[in-house]
Amino acid sequence: MLPYSFIGTGSYTNAASALPATVALPAKPDLFLVRNLTGWGSGTGGPPITTYTAVANLESWIFPYTMAAGSFRQMGQSAVSVAAASLYATQGTSNGFTFIDSASPPTFAALAITTPFINATSWVVSMSNTGSIAVGDYVRVLNPTAMLQAGGIVAQVTAVSVNTSITLGYIASSVSAGASFTTNSTGGSILKFYRGKYYPKKLQVMHVTQATQAVVYFAEKNDFTPGQMVDFNVPTTYGMIQLSFLTKGNGPARVLSVTNSSTVSSITLDLDTTGFTAFAYPTSAASVGATSPPFCFPAGSGIVPLSGSATVPQSPPGTNLLDAFDNLNQFYMYIGSSVVGADSAVMQWEAYKADFGNLSNA
């Protein structure tokens, strides 16, 4: 007997046009279910449980050890409204359930950037094949010809037009704030990947303002917190070298406030940069073989400021424990478009684990 233990449940609500979802799990499940609560019992979108149509009310996933990543549906379950059962191998191996261990995530192949390539202002990246890229995914910009200074940038996707383009809106916001990208790319590729979950993580700097309280922009959501201390390594090709290695002087800079909207990722520092050299990315030609990217990285913990004030700390002084170095890796289930459920539906997921699902055969 291999009894299943219930290890977690949760819900999500699909958008008007349902998109793939990712849910965090407390452990690696051996059985995973998704149930359409909106359509449950109504027969809407296909009768529940007994037969399955293209828009099923119950999707399930059992983890046999030979199962391919991205496989979905339980063995012996029929995929369409036919009487004959079929094996999971015939049910499709894309857009289904994909188990993800963020400490050892799956990898993807790079996808070509196609004409008209990367727009240096809007950061709309044209791609005739967007693959499985979804909003919120992390991508790396590879070899963007004529825009080589952007090579290797890790950015988060803020919009997707399937098989047309993706938008790197956080970079576009940094351009609006003054980042010096002026020439569109003429080629390149995009690599999707899963970011590690170690905290806090260094981030490539997209722009830094010259202000009494400098604002630093990033290409992805940042996980810095008010009160945290940060430091920089800004090579000479990026101008503002006065930011580099603040720790060896009077100490690292304190984060006063953090912005993480749908298109803007930035931190405001208790640091006056008005007298510093202007921050600017080099030209494409100047970046070839001559530069390391500018990075912001964690440098310690400080007193939490009151509402982003540079001079007023929380009273009593707040000790920031959110910025402790930590391993936040977790297990996830990626619920692909074929199993995520109906448009606008409220979906419930359940995860189970077999007590002894993995007997060693030594």
């Binding site: 080589l148 170690y198 260094k202 060896k248 001559a290 990285f297 913990s301 170095f325 060693s360």
Partner: protein, 317 residues
């Protein structure tokens, strides 16, 4: 029936050799430069250490009016490190352990121990990869960004660490009157993947370990040295796949000065082996053994100035 080799029963044809074959074990290099810290039990799960920032120098003399100079502000920076729990286990049926001539549980313990130590090493590796400052190699000739590592790149990172007042970890190995040897300077340590070995061997001035004047204070994981850096290689060294300008793999080569990062272990949660005989864990008929291991560990960079991620391409596939 005629008797020949082909008609011998299988158990006659075969002998079970009780001496086990070796299991590949990876080099554990990422904690070589770490400061070990013990977090006492019953005192939370976040270890905080503090550092006081430097004060400004005061080279201007007081004039004859003898007025007190302006005071300076003493700043402190705290560095927090959270300890997490890690565990795994295997299940063996009693049928296996009573039927098998081989002491399977002994092998299970050995393999669990290996997995535990390699996991501890990987945790440190990934934390360094996540948080450390980055320097791209640009001195190579492969046309990528970063390029493959070259002498000028190691000089750059040594200069950065020296500019940041980073102290060396190992002492100089002075020259001796031995043919084919070369002295090694006081050195920072570099922890990197074995896929970088050809790049190391090709660097101008690289001294292989066997060319050291004295190898009495070296480790088996050490590959060699170059000026003021000594290189320690591991099969599980950090690699970021397809991340260079041209889409090649990047090796994250962590060059560390003294006291740059630490590993925290909870006093009551140090590495342990946990055996449960049949009858435990919902096993009323006493059919299954379990063997597990666990440890409590946190890791963090304690001074961002003193640890640099020197990124290089040119890895072998």
């Amino acid at each position: 029936m005629s008797v020949s080799i082909g008609t011998l029963p299988p158990q006659i044809q075969q002998r079970y050799n009780a001496k086990l074959l070796s299991t590949p074990e990876r080099n554990l290099v990422h904690m070589l430069g770490a400061v070990p810290v013990e977090l006492p039990d019953n005192q939370g799960f976040i270890d905080r250490q503090s550092r006081y920032d430097r004060l400004d120098l005061f080279p201007t003399p007081l004039d004859d009016s003898q007025l007190n100079p302006p005071s300076q502000q003493l700043n402190r920076v705290d560095v927090d490190c959270r300890v997490r729990v890690y565990a795994t286990y295997i299940v063996l049926t009693r049928q296996v352990t009573i039927a098998n001539e081989d002491p399977v549980l002994n092998s299970a313990a050995a393999r669990l121990g290996q997995a535990l130590r390699e996991t501890q090493d990987v945790l440190v590796r990934d934390q360094l990869e996540s948080s450390a400052s980055v320097v791209n190699c640009v001195g190579g000739t492969n046309g990528d960004l970063p390029t493959e590592m070259a002498l000028s790149d190691t000089d750059d990172v040594v200069t950065t660490l020296q500019n940041n007042s980073g102290e060396y970890i190992t002492n100089m190995i002075p020259g001796e009157l031995k043919i084919g040897t070369s002295p090694i300077g006081d050195a920072y340590i570099c922890m990197l993947t074995t896929r970088m070995i050809p790049v190391l061997n090709n660097m101008q001035g690289f001294v292989r370990k066997f060319q050291y004047p004295n190898v009495s204070e070296t480790l088996s994981t050490e590959w060699g040295g170059l000026n003021n850096v000594r290189f320690f290689v591991s099969e599980q060294g950090s690699v970021t796949p397809s991340a260079s300008l041209l889409g090649s793999d990047i090796a994250n080569c962590f060059v560390s000065a003294k006291e740059a990062y630490k590993v925290v272990w909870q006093a009551g949660g140090k590495a342990r082996f946990i055996y449960m005989p049949p009858g435990y864990n919902n096993d009323p008929c006493m059919l299954r053994h379990t063997a597990g291991c666990s440890f409590y560990q946190g890791q963090c960079i304690t001074n961002d100035l003193w640890l640099q991620n020197l990124r290089s391409t040119g890895l072998t596939s």
